[in-house]
């Protein structure tokens, strides 16, 4: 079983990319990936419309796609929307610094508290590797404040390995690791049990992500099983 936890479907207005669920499923078949976590492009501010695209993708491919919804903490109706998405079958919530709400903000904490009540993991997504470093202190304060909440920290975050080593409620994806060797270097401080294979497709490639894990000679078969599926199954209650 192979699960890739970082994939986008819908419309990316920044680069005029449109990706359908069917295109993703075709890529999954080519790469030998059984299931994928999908969520909207965070470059698209139309949350309602793009979450609907993900919901339709989940409905068309219930055995292949697991949906997360994106949420902007600035929306006054945020918690009501989150309850609604939970009822629709979404498994987690994605937020991103580009929505303009800092990790120290009241609204960000409320999003996390709502996810806690709904028993959903919170994906801290980012496409901003350079500037995130200035936000590490409030991010770590947030992770410490809510030890019951499971966070998936995008590997785009500066010092994501160090942060995960310090906070046991943090999972990492592999999307920005340039090689399996980089992932291997995270295993000692973090542990294999909190690393998830994630390609960031369509920017990344599912096949490449599998190849990275396969090609790294220091991984045992069990470590690969953890990263491919056992960690995601445990995290998402699959």
């Amino acid at each position: 079983m192979k699960i890739d936890v970082h994939n986008h479907v819908g419309a990316d207005p920044a680069y005029e990319i449109h990706r359908s669920a069917e295109e993703l499923v075709e890529e999954m078949d080519d790469a030998g990936v059984d299931r994928c976590v999908v969520f909207p492009f965070t470059t698209n501010p139309d949350f309602g419309g793009q979450n609907k695209v993900v919901k339709e993708a989940m409905d068309r491919h219930p055995d292949r796609l697991i949906g997360f919804f994106t949420m902007n903490p600035r929306l006054p109706e945020m918690t009501d929307l989150m309850y609604g998405y939970k009822e629709q079958g979404f498994k987690g919530v994605v937020t991103d610094p580009r929505f303009g709400v800092g990790h120290e903000a009241k609204r960000f904490h409320e999003l996390v508290e709502c996810a806690l009540v709904l028993e959903m993991p919170v994906w801290l997504h980012s496409d901003d590797k350079d500037t995130m470093r200035v936000y590490i202190a409030p991010l770590e304060a947030l992770l410490s404040k809510y030890p019951e909440v499971r966070f998936i920290l995008s590997s785009m975050y500066y010092d994501h390995v160090g942060i995960a080593a310090r906070h046991k409620n943090v999972y990492l994806d592999t999307a920005t690791h340039m090689s399996g060797g980089m992932t291997a270097s995270a295993v000692q401080p973090v542990g294999t049990h909190r690393i998830l294979v994630g390609s960031n497709s369509p920017y990344g490639m599912l096949r490449r992500e599998v190849e990275k894990i396969e090609a790294e000679p220091t991984f045992t078969g069990f470590q690969r099983s953890l990263m491919y599926s056992l960690n995601a199954e445990r995290l998402l209650g699959l």
């Binding site: 207005p13 902007n72 929306l75 009241k106 350079d130 500037t131």
Partner: protein, 273 residues
């Protein structure tokens, strides 16, 4: 005594709202990042030299959660300009991530009389040369208005990537706000190549690069600006003026920098001063 025009090219204004409208988004006791027009006018009058006029735009919708948020900010600026036409030049905020809605909003506020467009690509984590940005710039070119774009050190809006956007639209004059911040040498390099790019001095880290810009690029394409966005703290207009006046520029140069260059540029896009 200063007898020429002093014009601040970069000021954020925000509508004063009752506490009940902020309570959901702020921790108790937290100071809001906002500045209503009345507060900034007092600052303009108390500055030395006095600030005669300012280019003003919104703050909260630079990356907007809804298109309505963008419209709300711009409506406030339209009201400010209507009430104080002799002090303020309004700019509308556009968040290009909204696609059709962004273009629609651009046309709406230009139709209402604004001739300046504010875009901050790093707020929405959009690279400044991406497709959405190019689309908005095509509209800007068509409308003949002036884009004023935030610059910084990020990969979204550093001087080089803003320069790439400007090079695609050589007939559009663009203001690279903040002079690249820490990347002011990059800003100088871009402006040397591209005659359609201007800079403002807000948040500039190395003030001596103002002199370098005037000597190596042009004395006509650099403008005083403060980037004031809050009642207290952060960037304030007097401090921004001091950053310029401490250089001891020849009077002619200081006159251009503090208002003359801005006046020429704004008039060229149809702003009535």
């Amino acid at each position: 005594m200063v007898i020429y025009l002093v014009l601040d090219m970069h000021v954020h204004l925000t509508e004063e709202r009752p506490d009940a409208e902020w309570v959901w988004s702020h921790w108790p006791g937290e100071e809001r990042r906002s500045q209503p027009v009345e507060v900034f006018m007092e600052k303009m009058d108390s500055c030395r030299p006095r600030i005669d006029r300012a280019v003003v735009f919104g703050l909260h919708s630079l990356a907007s959660e809804t298109p309505e948020a963008m419209r709300r900010d711009n409506d406030y600026i339209l009201r400010v300009v209507e009430e104080h036409p002799d002090r303020f030049i309004g700019a509308g905020v556009v968040d290009p991530s909204w696609g059709d809605a962004a273009v629609e909003e651009l046309h709406r506020f230009v139709d209402a009389g604004l001739r300046v467009v504010k875009i901050r690509f790093s707020s929405m984590h959009y690279h400044a040369n991406n497709k959405a940005a190019q689309r908005v710039f095509r509209e800007i070119e068509e409308l003949g208005v002036l884009p004023v774009c935030h610059s910084d050190w990020t990969h979204y809006s550093n001087p080089l990537i803003l320069g790439d956007l400007a090079s695609m639209f050589p007939d559009v004059r663009m203001v690279m706000q903040h002079f690249g911040e820490y990347l002011s040498f990059d800003a100088i390099s871009v402006c040397r190549r591209l005659p359609n790019v201007y800079v403002d001095t807000s948040a500039l880290v190395l003030p001596k690069n103002i002199v370098r810009f005037m000597e190596e690029v042009s004395p006509d394409r650099i403008m005083y600006a403060s980037d004031t966005l809050s009642v207290r703290g952060g960037l304030q207009p007097q401090d921004a003026l001091n950053r310029v006046t401490c250089l001891g520029l020849p009077k002619k140069m200081e006159e251009k920098l503090l208002g003359g260059n801005a006046e020429v540029l704004l008039r060229s896009v149809g702003v009535k001063l």
